[in-house]
Amino acid sequence: MRVTGESYNMLTLDVNLSDARLRETLDAVEAKLSPESCAKVAAEAGADVVRENFITLSRSRHRQGQRLNFYQQAADSVIREVSGGDALIRIPHTGVAQRYYGGVIKPSGRPSAVTGRPVERLAIGLTGSPGEGHVPADFPALFLVTKRGVKRGDKSENAFLARKTGGGVQRLFVLVGEVRQDEDKSVLPKDDKILEAAAECILDLYDAATEKNT
């Protein structure tokens, strides 16, 4: 660094950027803040925000008595990926994309694990019944119950899967031809939250680069 006095009340500092020590620090910062490294930590920071959002949802939406926590498992599934300088966050949890985009769910037509026959109707657990949050395979000896006068092949909400309980019949699932799910954009956090976290973590990465060279 060179100091020159231009007047009695002003000094000009001329910083020599080719100085070996300074160059070393700048090189280290440049290497540490490569597009790939930044993308990696930005993706991880974004993944954290997505995880946090699922955990918040799990606290408010998880129903008492349900043993499998959908949103907590969604949070656990979140992973980061990078492709060159691009940061990606993946959520490989069945049902998250369905909730986010919404749309019509139709039977797969694949053979049922329970009956072996192609699945032509969806079994939806009835709210407040033991079927809620479950699938038919959870229960032994289910049988079909239809409302009086329902014709064969009717796929409206007129048929149920039920079980016998203490001399009575308990309906657990309603069988339907399709289900429409409304889109729910709140399953993902807002973009600005992800970007804010990404910016913060790049400062952390910068901090690491400078700390190692001081």
Binding site: K40, L68, Q72, A208
Partner: protein, 421 residues
Amino acid sequence: MLSADYIRKLLPVATDLTAAEIGRHIPQAMRDAAVYSARTVYVGHVADTQQDLATALDGKMSAAQVRGLMKLRLRKLGFAPSEADAGSLADLSSDARTSLIVSHQMQRASGYAKWRADQDADILDAFPGQEMYRASAAKVPRDWMRRWNDARAALGAATTATEATTQDGPFVALKNDPIWVHPSVNRFGSPFPPFDFNSSMRVRNVGRRRCRELGLLKDKELSARLLKPARDPMDGNVTSSSAAGMDPSLVNAWADAFGGSARVYTGRDGLPRVAVAPDPADVLAQISEAARAGAKAEADFGLAPDVLTKPGTLKTPVGPDTSLRITADQARHIIAEHGAEPRAGQAAVTYGDISAIPETLKRGRWRESTEQEKAGYPGAAATFVGEDGTVIAFRIGQGKKSRHMTVQTLYKVKKENPPQA
């Protein structure tokens, strides 16, 4: 998905032990390499559940479907709980039990995937720490403050952990801090959640500047050591752990379930230990792939055979925890030297022959390597001569923490020219 791959690599083990007995009598190395459920003797059921869990972790099946299929399978197997057990955790088909297994195993696999992804220099620089926190309210909360502080006190200067002042923590430490595997904090001993059964404690990243504020980076030497990416036990390495104080018959029964991939032996301190090798088929497939791609890789594909651990075959027997190792460089070298244009009297070696090494080693005999086979190598070396004419030479080496026999070369002598045994 990494989490799905993790669960697929585990060995399904049938056991009639309780969770407490497994924790007390089964060494960590075997527990880490296995998928099991307390008092579940239906190994097919465990294996099918393992596959379903992997499908769910790939995002192709819901957790509720996995649970439903578990119950369906148990009904088909004719399982019926006793009247006293019905509906409880002891009932394999109960909602409580099947849900516990599904959520525990999925959390375990996801925990591994996150931990594995964290073992990266950039991530450890930006997020050196992690915080354990309660993701959802528990009916009967465990005393995590006491557990954490007990572990912290026991570790003393070896830990960077913050002191927990409430039941909500703060439970913060550097990512590779020993507190994460301390038995007070972690019932299972793996460096990732779950830390206990049915626990909703999770971990989240803590950035570098926050770690500094909390004093986690104060001890430069300690933090530098704890911020080195850790070795992944799933990356094709033999792992070993103590079996001291455990019931030998139970340890041996589990080791048997691993076939030749696990060995119970006496360690250098005179105490019993167990060594577990990864699945050889998986390892050799990965090494062949790396060799074809020109990449660097090395992995253990088994344990040194019994005959070499006892006097008689080699001048100095190898240790019982010695691994059989192969590198992608050597696999490439073998194919280059003995592949397309084999020497006179030899048959062409393919990557299929490299994948078949564990099978080849079952029929033939071992001997000291000749000076020619050692090709100037000053250390110990052993050669296997297979009944089918395959000759495999190994160099015996000592790493920082482990001993290994590394494949040096492999060639196949045509049947009309039987190799010298």
